[in-house]
Amino acid sequence: MLEIKNLCCNVKDEKENILEDFSLKIKKGEIHVIMGPNGTGKSTLAKVIMGHYKYEVSKGDILFDGESILNLSVSDRAKKGIFLCMQDPTVIEGVTNSEFLRTALGEVTGEKVNLYTFIKDMEKTMEEVNLNSNMLHRSLNMGFSGGEKKKNEILQLKILKPKFIILDELDSGLDVDSLRIVCQNINDYLEEYPDTAVLIITHYPRILEYIKPQYVHILKDKKILKTGGEELAFEIEKEGYKGVNIMIGNENHE
């Protein structure tokens, strides 16, 4: 579904690459995790896949369903089915959750959204993610707690029904109960749409107690240094990233 080939990218107008010769292949229905120390480019990877304006790709390619998406706008990537659940969702004053999501749904599906059906779907989904329905009419993420913002991201995901989900630090700002609710909703979604692929970006394996991955990758020195199963994440928690260096025999210890 998603194939990243020898990707080099940098912040626009800066020479140093953040990712270098980075490659990754994610097939339909697979769940992958990327872990790594602070500042190794995990969130950059998420933003580059989505087409963030601050970054440019100097080499390599990103294919989605076999087609390069590098020349596509951010909204066209979203329309193809890519969804980035953001680490710190933006607050937009004056634009209500309701009009935002209704517009998004109309654009993604290419169909006129029936207001009654939309409101009913929203109310049902808001209940599932444990968000108060009055948030529908509030400005986007305005006055929301960290947990409510993340739940709002999952609400959007469930309404827009993407094929490929990137979860960037989903667990940051979430208490144990909220994390459980959010992960339960993601698991329900994956059960309903089993072809959906997921890329989880995280520092901690806490989220992996709820969402079970097939692959865990360690990102360091601008590329993937090691790939393993779920157990690799727990080794990291126990040994730290220095431990990973030793495990793979890397001389470049931090």
């Binding site: 989505m50 963030h52 304006y53 706008s73 951010v74 909204s75 990537r77 979203a78 329309k79 969804f83 980035l84 953001m86 969702p89 933006t90 937009i92 004053e93 004056g94 634009v95 209500t96 009009e99 935002f100 999501l101 517009t103 998004a104 654009e107 993604v108 009419h137 400005s139 959007q156 827009l160």
Partner: protein, 192 residues
Amino acid sequence: MSKILYVIDNNENKDYNYKIVEDTIIYHFSINSSSKVNIDLDKEGVSLYYYYSDINYEDNSFEIVVNHNKSNTHSEVINHGVNVLEKTLNFKVDGVVLKKSSKCICNQDNQIINMSNGKSTIFPNLLIDNYDVDSNHSAYIGKFRDEDIFYMESRGISRDACNRLLLNGFLISSDSIEYEKIKDFLLEIENI
């Protein structure tokens, strides 16, 4: 219950004078117009909410003076302008609290979005001659934030639709506006 006034200017220059003696909300919508507004808060304890929303295509200005002539008066002035073309748009916004007027609240929020390379200026003035006033002002001139547009686009919303949503949110900045009364202004937002 506040008294509510709607003012709509469409390609004209006008002066307005208000003597406020009861709690009042004024929605002032302007399409390519200039205006001068003078407001006297003339009764102790009254409040005024003034929402100015402006779509500008030529060289225009908006000036507003709010005089807190009595104690315990409260003003909130919210001015939002969109400078569409490469023209000049000026806001001059004065909050005046006299020495005899104590315990007043005098706030203003001013923002102009430049849709192209127009020249916009804001003069946010608080002229306060008293020590017990609660007062804030802010001014922003620029474009819609790139991060906001990225977020909206990342949900599949095209750039045009993003701008439309942001413009609506910016220019219709109160939930309690009766849309029937500002049909022309709403249509004009669609034309930007």
